[in-house]
């Protein structure tokens, strides 16, 4: 087990967005988290990556207790997180966006005397291929399509080689074709690491997921295979509709 969330509670406005939640993710697992709007899915990712401090509970990632750490420390122990809206550096090229995401030698002097070495070049090539942008390395991020920006942001995380990848609505705003390509891409990217994906697109979830966790009102409502979940009357009532 790489991630163990126990009895996690996150409150704001006197409202429990996450309420006594338990969740565990295995090594190499690709887990999808679905659930109604406001169920606490994004807040769960916020708590894991250190953006929001839980009021109670524990988040174990390998040997680290993440609830004691601040955001950059969580990143450094191997957790990468993509937010709902793409955030790339629009005036930099794809190549530059990937380069500045490379975590090695980020001190003042090494940044000033930055030089592209072979290791970095190989890493950029590998990541650019994985996110289908190898033909676009010289293009400014601002000129990419919405879907390509989402891919670039995933690529920026891959430059850090995270052991746990958190993706919040990665196909939002993508066309059906881009969604299919993203599903294909994720199968490659998630190999050798653990991934948590939040999504509402059920067709997409079906393409990628092994186990699906359904959240509702800050708790886990159901967990199982896509087939079990889609037939679960509680899930149909609060989430899928009929």
């Amino acid at each position: 087990m790489i991630l163990a969330v126990q009895d996690l509670t996150v409150s704001f406005d006197g409202f429990r967005a996450v309420d006594g939640l338990a969740l565990s993710v295995e090594e190499d697992e690709l887990r999808c988290v679905i659930g109604p709007n406001g169920a606490g899915k994004t807040t769960l990712l916020d708590a894991i990556c250190g953006k929001t401090r839980p009021s109670h509970g524990s988040i174990r990632f390998k040997e680290h207790e993440l609830t004691d750490m601040i955001e950059y420390e969580v990143t450094r122990v191997g957790v990468g997180r993509k937010f709902q809206t793409p955030s790339t550096y629009e005036d930099l090229t794809v190549l530059e966006n990937l380069e500045i995401s490379y975590p090695k030698n980020r001190g003042v002097m090494s940044s000033l005397f930055f030089a592209r070495d072979a290791t970095l070049r190989d890493k950029v090539d590998e990541v650019a291929r994985a996110i289908h942008l190898e033909e676009h390395l010289g293009v400014k991020a601002g000129s990419l399509s919405h879907g390509q920006k989402q891919w670039l942001e995933i690529g920026m995380l891959l430059m850090q080689d995270p052991e746990l990848l958190l993706l919040d609505e990665p196909v939002a705003g993508m066309s059906p074709g881009e969604r299919e390509r993203t599903a294909e891409m994720l199968k490659g990217i998630s190999a050798g690491r653990s991934t948590i994906v939040i999504e509402h697109d059920m067709a997409f979830v079906r393409m990628i997921a092994h186990t699906v966790t359904v959240m509702h009102q800050g708790k886990v409502l159901a967990e199982g295979s896509m087939d079990d979940i889609q037939l679960d009357p509680r899930v149909i009532e609060v989430y899928l509709g009929d």
Binding site: F12, D13, G35, P36, N37, G38, A39, K41, T42, Q84, T85, S145, H146, G147, E169, A172, G173, M174, S175, P176, G177, E178, E180, H200, D201, M202, I236, V238, Y239, L240, G241
Partner: protein, 233 residues
């Protein structure tokens, strides 16, 4: 032929140097819903921004009930009967849910949030005193739709309205839009990636490819495979 509620004639829109919308024309009849489909980067959002006045029109005309609004300010277009749900929510994060809805009523004399809005989006009634910025992404999207609906527009422009919304509420929104359209008689222009939602509410489909209309079909005769092919190539 009756006068269309919205007529777009030979519209050209540019983003700096790039010519994004190319000589686009269409007529939207009273009570009609048109879905503008197309891959990303084909000009859908640019078309919507030009219709609501967030981007200047290079050439061509936009007529709302016969009135030329091509050079009108956005707020004048809203007062004249256009409603707009922008892509990416754009709610006011530091106003409450209720204040966001009242902002949508700026152009209306009777400034009450109608019951049907809260009935369609019960979560907004429940959370009406909370800051919009504290809602989840999907709840903010529901708020953006509700904010456009409260002013009872003659033409509602919806740019990817279902992004981030849970499946059951997408179905509910489709039902509500159809009910409201029957009751209040507005027309809609919709951009949507979720084909099932578009099929629920649209009467006619236009496919935008590289800024031009590449395909048009009525719902009855629409070729789903053809639309899908256009969206996936």
């Amino acid at each position: 032929m009756t006068e269309p509620v919205l007529a777009v004639e030979g519209l050209n829109v540019y983003y700096g140097e790039s010519h994004v919308v190319r000589d686009v024309s269409f007529r939207l009849e009273e009570h009609e819903t048109i879905a503008v489909m197309g891959r990303n980067g084909m000009g859908k959002t640019t078309l919507f921004k030009a219709l609501i006045g967030l981007l200047p029109v290079g050439s061509g005309r936009i007529l709302l009930r016969g009135r030329d609004i091509t050079r009108a300010k956005s707020y004048e277009r809203v007062a004249a009967g256009l409603g707009y749900v922008p892509q990416g929510r754009m709610v006011f994060p530091y106003l409450s849910v209720e204040e966001n809805l009242l902002a949508g009523l700026e152009t209306v004399t009777d400034r009450m949030v109608p019951d049907y809005v809260y009935d369609t989006f019960p979560v907004l009634r429940e959370m009406r005193k909370r800051l919009a910025g504290n809602l989840s992404g999907g709840q903010q999207q529901q708020l953006a739709i509700a904010r456009a609906l409260v002013a009872r527009p003659a033409v509602l422009l919806l740019d990817e309205p279902t992004e981030g919304i849970q499946p059951s509420i997408i179905k509910e929104i489709a039902r509500t839009l159809n009910t409201l359209r029957a009751a209040h008689g507005f027309a809609m222009v919709l951009s949507e990636q979720v084909l099932s939602f578009a099929l629920e509410i649209a009467d006619r489909f236009l496919i935008l490819d590289k800024g031009e209309f590449a395909y048009e079909g009525l719902k009855a005769e629409v070729d789903t495979a053809k639309i899908h092919a256009h969206l996936t190539v």
